[in-house]
Symmetry: C2
Subunit: 240 residues, 2 copies
Amino acid sequence: MRPKIYLFGDSITEESFGDGAWGASLAHHFSRTLDVVLRGYSGYNTRWALRVVNRVFPPETAVGSGGAPLAIMLFFGANDACLPDRCSAFQHVPVDEYKQNLHAIVGFFKNRWPTTQVVLITPPPIDEVGRLLHPFVENTLGLPERTNEAAGVYAKACVAVAVECGIPVVDLWTRMQQFPEWQKSFLRDGLHLTQGGNRIVFEEVIGKLGETGLSLETLPVDLPLITEIEPNEPLKAFQK
Amino acid sequence: MRPKIYLFGDSITEESFGDGAWGASLAHHFSRTLDVVLRGYSGYNTRWALRVVNRVFPPETAVGSGGAPLAIMLFFGANDACLPDRCSAFQHVPVDEYKQNLHAIVGFFKNRWPTTQVVLITPPPIDEVGRLLHPFVENTLGLPERTNEAAGVYAKACVAVAVECGIPVVDLWTRMQQFPEWQKSFLRDGLHLTQGGNRIVFEEVIGKLGETGLSLETLPVDLPLITEIEPNEPLKAFQK
């Protein structure tokens, strides 16, 4: 059975199998080595994720499925970081609780599957102009429901949790802002990813997995590649 | 546990999670309802597929994985249809054996999982000019290793197997040729799919699954949608 990587997160994860999006790119990259399993829940914050994690990952996940997942990408925070006095306030989670929730979810995984590599991903930066142009819900205040500053506070908290847990983290908030024009080239509505933004996430995730020893170089290939099949005696490749 | 759909086929399946490709589009379409599992093996024909089907689908596939797969897309024939006297002859399988092999693979699935819906997909049409411009292996003959006529013979055989087994079939060979300029708009090298070709496969597969009762309208959604979560009392949605 092929090993698995789970993507557990919010809408940026749920839509990650769209055209050129980061989840599909991972599945394509690992097409003969592992399964990339999508567990994205639009709008969810860590408070709700913690509430459902045992239903998303029942104990049977590992039975007859190649054992414990190789890795789980844990990608929440964009909704927690909604401001408490703006139009998406019901998704807001205070940053201290966000940290506790991430710790609890990582602890859940470590308890269930001690060998599984959990990788945190911080929320991306926010383009406030883009958010005002593309509101999800009625925005009568005329102020963005998310700010880049607030997203940065949650990104730093996410990095701190990774350090405290001794696990890898992709600091997307910092990484994306190292590029000029990140607001428009990486974010299509100030929050969700363009193809360029998806490319960055894909590259960062591949790089981080590689650092933990998970790469095409180390993973066994499922069944002989066509290049390993002898034209004069093709069936020989399938004898073992 | 979410139900699963498997994609079992050759390179057109293995590369189906590329940008805008049909497998990723299926996973995106069903992002909150089921898992689309990639089992594509570049270069494989039905002779080799039959040899490995019990390793690709071990009995444990169904244990703790939401039970039997909902559906399996069985998409072979493009390699079987390589001509026996051209440069890819080692992949050729005679059409009578191709039919027997498809019957045997369908029988394997029906025996293992009587409730699973197996759906056949015929090989696509071939653009011989495209094949000559993009050979996989050295082609000293100057003749295409696949022809559209041969692909059509295998497509008809595939449709016949579906009728004999009483299962659905996507006749890609016929469907694609109903469009003008199918040679260039659907095939990037005379065989593999462009984004337009991928779109056709996606639409045909979605349509065929819908006819068998498998659609967003009938599948349960995994966990409450954000639109079902009450802003004033969000946690209520997670109580059941």
